[in-house]
Symmetry: C2
Subunit: 339 residues, 2 copies
DNA sequence: CTCCTCGATGAAAACCTTTGAGTCGCAGGT
DNA sequence: ACCTGCGACTCAAAGGTTTTCATCGAGGAG
């Protein structure tokens, strides 16, 4: 080992007075190694500041120690949604915790899709976490064909056979929200939904419908699509005020939209919660705690969701036979002042 | 090559009727190869769907083909700032374009710092893009000692010797904003600054001061720190209204704070821009286009900044002697309705 | 005392690519 | 006829780790 080069396993072994093989066993926590050897190797590692060469290890184990985190969104603008930042942060943390490299991939265009395909097929990562909520997202079909362990966030559109996913209980949360509004004595409850090409939006709508005892026809009269954007929430709320002038409560399928809806209500001279009670969804603190009034919302714990996704993927990578392929995380109602 | 295994360079060479070495040279665009060989190899690559094994390549070239993107923020909450999402997106895109893996690292705690240190020192990446705007951020001193090519976003605190960075012209932008307000005939112009432990905030403050011809004392009377948060902007604006009741214009050092300031102004019954003209900074469309009224703002093109950072880092990696170590990107004023 | 067993260890193959050194054939100069 | 130079190519080493297989020694059973 020259002065400047990084120490290799060979150096460690030499210093510890054992062979490369034994040193390797120590590093990989093999049980077949004597206490003395273990101690000696550990000391050498520490003294030399040894760090295994990832490339060499990857070459022989056929494992890269990296996983891809893929966000597929036809509309780049959606990334202004703070939800996205929260998921990325959670991913970075959870993967760092298990000492795995996170390779972030954002796919917007067909070009991006092709690139993602090449990359994922190229064996550059051991597995992937995929966020692809939209209907008929081709990326999902592409990924499905790959011999690569994948865990999805939420239900991707299409058949779920053989897929692994961690979802939030969107429907249950929607029921919670709606029941809460009912329990406040509200009679005319309406709903601002997300875009109906995302299953999470559909599930929330379904929860609303079932809690209200509505069929499709009935629901259509008291529901507007807000597209999961602030501006959309604003407009949807305005449309609902026109459609149902006597409304006294609204369940909004995301906090961002709820912020927009609150603005519309304020402009229309409605007091919240006295005239109209409002419940959001996400419990995104940066939004919910700073609206006026602070927003009652259904909490879905994204950190938890991502953590579960990572755990699940790690099990797949360790080739453990995974008992449960689909997990649904509970949602809870967080009361603030808007309802 | 078995049925299921991925093809190796050996397979490609065999199919093309050449040696591994020649095949390799084709892949690496070496000039020393005949047209026929080139053609044959390319055909074989295509036919076999060959993809080079990154690990093997990394092992011999001592290059990983990955770079780290590091965000150092003592306060995780700051990541709710949409600016962060924009930077990440830009990084993902720019790095994908040059076919380099992006390894995202978020460092909040000293623990994270230690981990980042280990990782960056471990030779797992070829270089790093570092976002560490805060004063006395220890991560910067850590990174500085590493024999690793690094490009910073903006000026990190401390000596800049030997460092590579791409900054926005914060001071110039601030001058632009202030001059614009002056040209509108405004007489009492105040400033909501960012947190003064970030040089970008200080530069913007300096621009304001110089355009106004103020010294430190004079500036203190018409300036408030809004901490680069919406809520902070709200409060700072309120404080300024109390301090300078006759104010007729405000330059706010970020769009997020400006959104908060607008709310305060509205609550105080001030019309924008008639009573008070407002200019923001960032030109973050998701904010600036959706405030009421739409926000006049100084544009700093983050996409461009990140693109330059990547380009610069690539030059460093190719070991080109880089002429310019510090780049400053221009800022421009985007007029909307608030001023 | 010999034979086995078993746990710890070492030697060496394997993983796949890049690259410097060496080979080969051929044209052109002497 | 012989060397030289050159372009196109092949050979084989090197890069650092994991893992299989063989070896070695100690201790227990017979």
């Amino acid at each position: 080992m020259s002065i400047h080069a990084r120490p290799t396993l060979e150096d460690v072994a030499a210093r510890a007075g054992v062979s490369r093989a034994t040193a390797s066993r120590v590093l990989n926590a093999s049980p077949r190694v004597s206490p003395e050897a273990l101690e000696a190797v550990n000391a050498a590692v520490l003294a030399l500041g040894y760090q295994p060469n990832r490339a060499a290890r990857a070459l022989v184990t056929r494992r890269t120690g990296a996983v891809a985190v893929v966000f597929s969104e036809p509309e780049p603008k959606i990334f202004d949604d703070p939800h996205f930042a929260r998921l990325i942060r959670a991913g970075a943390r959870a993967l760092a915790d298990v000492d795995v490299q996170m390779v972030l991939m954002l796919v917007h265009s067909p070009d991006d899709q092709a690139r993602a395909h090449r990359f994922l097929a190229g064996g550059h990562v051991d597995g992937a976490l995929v966020f692809a909520p939209h209907r008929n997202d081709e990326l999902v079909s592409i990924v499905k064909k790959l011999p690569l362990p994948v865990v999805y966030a939420g239900k991707p559109w299409g058949s779920l056979r053989g897929m692994h996913l961690v979802d939030n209980d969107n429907e249950g949360g929607a029921v919670l929200a709606t029941e809460h509004l009912k329990s406040l004595g509200r009679k005319k409850i309406v709903h601002v939904s997300g875009p109906l090409d995302e299953l999470s939006a559909i599930d929330r709508l379904n929860g609303f419908k079932s809690a209200m005892g509505l069929d499709d026809k009935g629901a259509a009269k008291v529901t507007e699509d807000g597209g999961f954007t602030r501006e959309g929430g604003r407009k949807a709320m305005a449309a609902l005020l026109a459609k149902v002038p006597t409304l006294d409560a609204v369940f909004v399928a995301s906090d961002l939209m709820a912020a927009g809806a609150l603005e519309t209500l304020q402009e229309a001279g409605k007091r919240v919660p006295q005239d109209v009670a409002v419940v959001g969804f996400d419990d995104h603190v940066a939004i919910a705690e700073h609206t006026t009034p602070p927003l009652t919302s259904v909490r879905q714990d994204s950190d938890e969701q991502v953590k579960h996704m990572v755990e699940h993927l790690m099990k797949l990578l360790r080739d453990e036979t995974v008992k449960t392929k689909k997990q649904v995380l509970p949602t809870v109602l967080v009361r603030r002042e808007s309802a």
